[in-house]
């Protein structure tokens, strides 16, 4: 009885058919799963954004015991990537090319009494990488102080007892993963709906269905249900890869992320229907969908934080649906935020859902 219902209920059988059709489409699978996976893998392997070692070039013009002692001390720290066997000219070139953060020049007469350079070294630093340059300068200053104290036999100094702790360091891949999840849900919702619907329309499949007593709601439910299922799968697959292969720490609740994926999926599926209603043909839908997706991809903080944007642009970018989705997913994934703490983003998405749904219904056409 129940199994007969499963086979003879139009909504259920249309949904089953729509799922089969979607998962037999290799191209859709490629764009929806494979491409975001590649994106996460590439950035996972490159691991941008971690603090790199400080590249230090040393030019020893003094070439005496004191300068040698300083160089040995610097080397002993192990903090620097050191090069001291090149000519001054070559080192300056390397600094200008960005291959060095700092160039330490030890002037002639360093450490010799009565020499104007007794207690002086020259440091030329790369302004483009201020963090590394500043850290390097501080370390060198500290070393020189140590030497001074040693000379003056001052033994009672303030010291720091430093002890390491395993902190949660945010790597670029941690930042990127939730953004890529949000972006791929947007792409899937927008393009998969707009194109498959217009294709059914232009090839006459919708017309053939209209020759039957089909209810539009059954058909639309099948389409939407399929896409929302895919958005859940996308989230699971992408988060799974990031956690298993790239050691991304998932701080928050995966269930919250899946609920957000559903809500975001709803927004972009409605947007896809709106585009297909407005565009009439696939040739028009392609540029329209791209014109919506591309700016959001770069303005919504998927690949880099929106803080880096100029103020007027940011004011707009903050209200984009992809911004709400990416922010909420990121806050849950990275900071372990709860769903209710994300009420502002959830509200933003809900408003977008209402607006896009309204537009989609207004523009919807069978023919």
């Amino acid at each position: 009885m129940f199994s007969r219902l499963l086979r003879t209920n139009p909504t259920i059988s249309l949904t089953k058919a729509s799922m089969r059709i979607w998962f037999r489409d290799r191209q859709a699978i490629f764009w929806t799963f494979f491409l975001p996976l590649v994106l996460i893998s590439v950035f996972g392997l490159l691991d941008f954004g971690s603090f790199r070692t400080v590249d230090l070039g040393i030019v020893d013009r003094a070439d005496n015991d004191a300068s040698q002692k300083l160089i040995d001390e610097v080397r002993a720290l192990g903090t620097f990537d050191i090069s001291d066997d090149l000519s001054e000219e070559k080192e300056r070139e390397a600094l200008l090319d960005g291959d060095r953060n700092l160039l330490l020049i030890i002037e002639p007469g360093f450490g010799e009494a009565q020499s104007p350079a007794q207690r002086r070294v020259t440091v030329i630093y790369n302004e483009g990488e201020p963090q590394e340059s500043a850290a390097g300068q501080t370390i060198i200053q500290h070393l020189l102080d140590e030497i001074t104290f040693a000379e003056g036999n001052i033994s009672e100094r303030y010291t720091i007892d430093a002890s390491p702790v395993d902190s949660r360091n945010l790597r670029f891949i941690d930042f990127l993963m939730p953004g890529v999840v949000a972006m791929s849900i947007m792409q899937m919702g927008l393009f998969s709906v707009a194109f498959s619907f217009l294709q059914l329309k232009s090839r006459g499949v919708l017309r053939r269905l209209q020759a039957t007593p089909i209810l539009p709601a059954s058909f639309i439910f099948a389409q939407v249900f399929t896409r929302l299922t895919v958005s859940i799968l996308q989230t699971l697959v992408l988060v799974g890869l990031a956690v298993l292969a790239f050691d991304v720490h998932l701080e928050g609740n995966l269930g919250f992320m899946l609920l957000l994926a559903l809500l975001g999926g709803g927004v972009f599926v409605s947007m896809g229907f709106a585009v297909s209603g407005w565009a009439h043909t696939e040739d028009v839908a392609a540029p329209v969908a791209n014109a919506i997706a591309l700016p959001m991809m770069f303005l919504s903080g998927v690949f880099f934080p929106r803080d880096a944007m100029p103020e007027p642009l940011r004011a707009v970018a903050d209200f984009l649906p992809l911004s709400y989705l990416a922010d909420a997913l990121r806050n849950v994934a990275v900071d372990g935020a709860s769903l209710w703490s994300q009420w502002e983003n959830v509200l933003g998405l809900t408003v977008w859902l209402a607006v896009t749904f309204f537009i989609a219904v207004r523009l919807f056409r069978w023919e």
């Binding site: 007969r4 058919a17 059709i21 037999r24 020759a211 039957t212």
Partner: protein, 255 residues
């Protein structure tokens, strides 16, 4: 003809597109079990008439009743009991023929033996194929099979043999005759006069949105002959199509 057995009743039906009067006040009725043909040149209004009867298009005025149901009032109720073959049909990509038929049947809350249905149109060996991989004749036959999933009492066939080779055309004719023997009513449109002569109990000839003649094919021919009409060349007992079929056989050529 008994009024009770009329399955289609059309009265003063009109439909315009801008200035063009596509259907200009036509009236006719079709009896249950009849094969009724609407003939006419392109643009005569055949397809518009059929689409109004199918509930796919609304008329401007006049009435169309199918099996006692006013089509404009309840197109869904009409669609439940009829089968529609569109001039060019398309189906879902990436579903096999049996999968498509199962989905189509579910739209009528029905369960069918899809393979049995495919056997009826000699497509059982392509049951797992995709629609797009079928030949033209096979697509046409599948399209007919898809109209049978709800066991309709009335079948609409819009130019069912256009573009088919003589073998496939004969096969389609045999199908139509079987539908008639099963007690179904068939309403078809065609450009081919020999098809109308072969299949139809009655025909209506349409031109410029009006019905200009309506009767049994033989009666229409007789009335022409009675006007003193003579063909320039006397008809032989066989024609070139008979020669073609004699040489190439009547078997379906699909692959």
């Amino acid at each position: 003809m008994d009024h009770e057995t009329h399955i289609v009743e059309v009265d003063d039906l009109r439909k315009s597109y801008g200035d063009l009067k596509a259907v200009d006040g036509i009236s006719f009725s079709v009896s249950a079990g009849e094969v009724f043909g609407i003939l006419g040149p392109n643009g005569a209004g055949k397809t518009t008439t059929v689409e109004i009867l199918e509930g796919m298009r609304a008329q401007d005025s006049g009435s169309a009743i199918v099996n006692g149901i006013d089509v404009q009032e309840d197109p869904r109720a009409v669609k439940k009991i009829i089968g529609i073959q569109l001039q060019s049909s398309a189906f879902f990509d990436r579903l096999s023929l049996t999968e498509i038929l199962d989905v189509m049947a579910s739209l009528y809350h029905r369960e069918i033996d899809a393979r049995e249905l495919l056997r009826e149109v000699e497509l059982d060996d392509r049951a797992d194929a995709l629609f797009k991989d079928l030949s033209g004749g096979q697509q046409q036959r599948f399209s007919v099979a898809s109209t049978l999933v709800n066991d309709p009492i009335l079948l609409f066939l819009d130019e069912p043999t256009t573009g088919l080779d003589p073998q496939a055309r004969r096969h389609m004719w045999a199908l139509v005759q079987r539908f008639k023997s099963e007690g179904r009513t068939v309403l078809l449109t065609t450009h081919y006069m020999e098809e109308a002569e072969e299949l139809c109990d009655r025909v209506a000839i349409m031109d410029h949105g009006k019905i200009v003649a309506m009767d049994r094919p033989a009666a229409l021919v007789d009335s022409l002959l009675n006007k003193g009409f003579k063909k320039k060349r006397t008809e032989k007992l066989a024609n070139l199509e008979d020669v073609f079929l004699d040489i190439t056989g009547r078997e379906l050529r699909d692959e």
